[in-house]
Amino acid sequence: MSKKSRLVFDLANSLSSRAILQNMEKFPSSHEKPPAGPPPLPEPVPVPPPLPERPEMPETESSRQSRNIVRESKWARLAADKDIQEGLGALARTAANAGISLADLMPAGIGEIGSWGADALKWTNWILRGLGLIEKNIDLTPSVSKMTATGSEAFEFISLGLMPSHAIETLLQLKREDLPKIRKMIVRIKKILAEEQADYLNNKREIDDAMEAFNNHDDHE
């Protein structure tokens, strides 16, 4: 690979990495109240027919680099979408809540640390946001009211700490807000990927000719 090619690869790689980092900072914590009622099912996305199979070529170092760049850039581009950002935020929140719920199974009061911590975070978030000291929502269960979250801890006393009370908040949060957002994210990812496929099929000849212009050099890499 020539020095210039290497330079372009490095540039693209650093741009895509930077885009991913920037987008990670933007992962949201939702401030909105979700609408009442059951979550709407995602709309079906029309998918263009699959592409014809291409003959397999032996993989070279530059092919591997290229594929990694494409993958990173693809995710950077997908993560720039608002629906996908919200879905990733919901996914991360669900993972955190599931972890706390699992830890809550531990007996002798150890498991309650996470559960009480999450409730404390909810109240702290409410106070700090009320005072205008923070803008981000750090509440792990924003769709569950403070009273429900704190009240569910009563089950801990009744069951002598055996019941994972945070699971109640986790399930409520998942059903009310996170699952609809995760579904929406999946549908959006599919739509974006299908758009690229459709763009190729609509302009197949032009794109194939353009790729062919650089193909001879590709084979020698």
């Binding site: 885009a19 599919k190 190729y200 790729m211 062919e212």
Partner: protein, 73 residues
């Protein structure tokens, strides 16, 4: 199709580049050195090939995932 024309097509249909970058590159293509045209064209050709090959598989995986999620509301 010469290489500059091919590069313009690949930039326009690139999934890797954001719209602002595409506009910037399209404005620069005429002034680009042949080596730069070659390097960028090669990169975008590989990008397009890899992206199209991966998309078919990813779309199938997403369909399976959506079907699973819809089974367990």
């Amino acid at each position: 199709m010469n290489k500059k024309e091919a590069l313009i097509v690949l930039i326009r249909h690139s999934f890797l580049l954001p719209e602002e970058t595409k506009a910037g590159l399209l404005a620069e293509v005429d002034a680009m050195a042949p080596e730069d045209v070659e390097a960028l064209g090669l990169l975008l050709t590989k990008e397009k090939k890899d992206a199209l090959a991966a998309n078919t598989l990813e779309l199938e995986e997403i369909d399976a995932l959506v079907a699973k999620i819809q089974q367990k509301p």
